[in-house]
Symmetry: C3
Subunit: 359 residues, 3 copies
């Protein structure tokens, strides 16, 4: 049950209204069934609607107490008795719309907090919200309906389109943002790229003369860092979803709709096409080209270009099928060596420390 301290529910809604909303077929239920809330399959009760989209949870689905559930056609035969189904091809997307129906995103009240520091020549569109302590620099331009969180710092000259949501303690410099961009707390955008030239043992900083250019509807996770370009820009294409603690180096270009999972690092000047998916903790070295639709598995180390649609894994990365073969081959090799090797020898290499280190 959703905690009313944090989330305000609307409803109840009829099943047929929800079916129409998500363009699903009703199976095993009446259109006038009233639903009060969304809930996970495992804890849903009478009056709830859940979703089933991951086969891992088949047993949970079979025994769920939920009154209704969004599910794929092939789930119908597994549904528990009495559960009404909304059948469609993309249950997770349908759930997103239904959850949003019950819990519409709160619209920030337009207000400028008295402790905010806003430059005289900054331009704020209609209905903006600026929270306590936020700082908006000279010449910054905000579209209508932007929300600037507590203590966020919007640097001089930064521009953003309408409806952007900037979290607490975000800092943005040297950047242009489209509309509907969501920046979660603690993000650093636009600081110097990691560029320096070394001479006679001294690292000399190289002026970073570019910007960060961010398309519409981009979502940037907490504590992520995006450096500005060194001359060219760093570019984040429309609709990209970037998770927490990601590092994006100077001059990186992301196409449209890329998905970058947490703790991934993309080195300077690497270019991704559209809809590239990068798993968590992957690392891409600099100056690479990653084609549209490519997929990079979690923890991969990418040191070469990746073709459009290619799926790679491992460090250094190889096509995912090769990576599976390598994994199996190494396991077999180790197993074979076991019978041949006296035990003392296998202990020569030092194990990694799972334990934290002490002084």
């Amino acid at each position: 049950m959703v905690d009313a301290r944090f989330h305000s529910r609307t409803g109840p809604y009829r099943l047929d209204l929800l079916a129409a909303l998500v363009e699903a077929d009703i199976v095993g239920g009446q259109g006038d069934l009233l639903l009060d809330d969304v809930a996970p399959l495992s804890t849903a009760q009478a009056g709830d609607i859940a979703f089933f989209d991951n086969r891992l949870y088949l047993e949970v689905f079979k025994s769920s107490q939920s009154s209704a559930c969004v599910a794929r056609p092939d789930a119908v035969s597994h549904a528990p008795a009495g559960m009404a189904l909304l059948v469609c091809d993309n249950p997770y997307f349908a759930y997103a719309l239904i959850a949003e129906k019950f819990y519409p995103p709160p619209i920030p009240t337009a207000a400028i907090h008295p402790t905010a520091t806003i430059a005289r020549d900054a331009e704020l569109g209609a209905q903006c919200r600026v929270d306590a302590g936020a700082v908006i620099g000279a010449g910054a331009v905000l579209g209508a309906g932007c929300s600037i969180g507590p203590h966020a710092v919007i640097g001089s000259g930064v521009e953003m389109g309408a409806g952007c949501s900037i979290g607490a303690h975000v800092r943005i410099q040297y950047a242009l943002l489209g509309s509907g961009v969501v920046v979660h707390p603690g993000v650093s955008i636009g600081q110097d790229g990691f560029g320096f030239a070394t001479k006679a043992g001294r690292h000399h900083r190289v002026p970073q003369l570019g910007r960060v250019v961010i398309g519409d509807d981009v979502d940037i996770g907490a504590n992520t860092t995006i450096d500005r370009g060194s001359g060219p820009d760093t570019v984040i294409g429309q609709g990209c979803m970037i998770d927490n603690l990601v590092q994006i180096g100077h001059n990186v270009v992301l196409g449209k709709g890329c998905v970058i999972v947490a703790q991934t690092g993309i080195s300077g000047s690497t270019k991704l096409g559209d809809y590239v998916m990068v798993g968590g903790q992957a690392g891409l070295t600099g100056h690479l080209t990653i084609g549209s639709g490519a997929q990079v598995a979690a923890q991969s180390g990418v040191m070469r270009d990746v073709s459009a649609g290619e799926v790679v894994a491992g460090s250094p990365c190889v096509p995912v099928r090769h990576w599976h073969r390598q994994t199996v081959a190494v396991a077999r090799l180790a197993e074979a060596s076991r019978t041949k090797t006296p035990k003392s020898k296998t202990l020569k290499s030092k194990p990694p420390r799972a334990r934290p280190q002490r002084s």
Copy 2:
């Protein structure tokens, strides 16, 4: 010698008082020996007490100038002449108590800074401290003796028990904290989990309707991120120690006393039992179950469930003994191939770049 600008010392203390404090036996010293300070073995001088708990530092121990030292029974025969020992089974724990005796943690002065922004209906317990610029939202509830650092942002409805210490620039939303929770600077708690559904090339955000629920005495390292649940809660069990720059996804559940070393990432809906240890930079994919007492080595890639007490290493992870075998087997294979392979061929794969990338 500890820098008095930063740390206030008490004492001196008699050796027998310290022995009683930590329930240790005095060996080779007089109970009335006066000790002025704690110090590392390598730099300790007359009047200091050190600890010896890591065999790596045996030679340092043997030649240490420290007047006294906490050590295990098997260290007695290696002690330098004239060093008084406090002998016990857990010298590091004993050292912790002794160091705390000399340097009791400062008790924050209760005070509300005039620049703090506190909602009228927020409830603060007795003796709270709220530093410059801190923001406390509507309906937030703080137990007695909490300390809220400069510019920290406590969101609407957030509750925390007594004696919590919240660092500078921390942001907490949609969360309930127990007592004695320490949150180091720059932490992001409770932002949206990384959940979206994709249709027709558009990533649609899925409402994240859960919370973050944190048990008593949890310690959360600087710049770590913990996303709130998507419907279920994200749960951090009592007494967990979480290091810096860790990523914890939505719906993750940590049991009691888990230790998560820096830069580890735990993907959505993965569940850890009690006292699980995860080394630095490890990655766990989503929807896994990790049993109590399991250990995950640093940099492991965990893509499968791990049994209670199991120790795993590698990416993809295998039991640590297998990982050792794999490491040795691959090294031998490479060595064997060396004699057979013309040098030019071994250079085909491109080396990783240790150097930063330039534009």
Copy 3:
């Protein structure tokens, strides 16, 4: 073309003036050629000066429209007709100086923002700038010309030399900084190291009694974390360049001029010599010694000492030449097994998830 909203250009400058500045020879151009701006090779136009230092971009160089270019001697024969060259051995360094000539770093206006909170006994040198909301604690000492960004928090007793630049939302505790230190936004310096002793299932925090000592001209990237020492200090040597999201544990010592690329983690008490280079996402366990001039490849897992000048790669790390051999040997082994192995068997191990996890 550089965006004038963000960067203020000076000039134009004569080619011979720039040649003298960087001690280069003019080849194929007149000394009185007037240059208006710097630009990347790929987008440079008439009036611009670019640089060519990475063979990857040879084709771009050959067809560049730039009026002038800094390049190595061996590039002369590839230069397009009509391009003036400044020939020298370190074009990137020369470019840095030229870019700085056109775009001198802005000198922050000395001013104390009225919303800053500065302790009465804090000492600020001449010409300091303190931005909105910044907090400077009791007894802190700042050298002349320091710039403290919006909402930055400088803890009690912290000292820094002249000309330090501290970014927005930086927090610094228990630390002494040299002169000319640049700390990018969101950095956490001086919080407790990850030290605790466990007894009877309870993790007990160990007082962290050291400091962080940072040398002159160090550069620290956004959202990086540096823990203070547990008794000894954490030390960052003069001229080190540290990228974003790096974790540096307690008691770590970095020599002079080390380069630590993004998302690397260095565990407690590990010591690096001078000019060590560590690639991105590398992990070093605790209590190691890494010799001067050593290089650690990206994503390496370092669990042993590394000699001065040694180059290592892999996890666990091995000399880079061995790592190449291992990579090739494993690929061949997998390829060989392919012909022998029925396909169904190779699919046994589960692939990593490039896709984000859902609840």
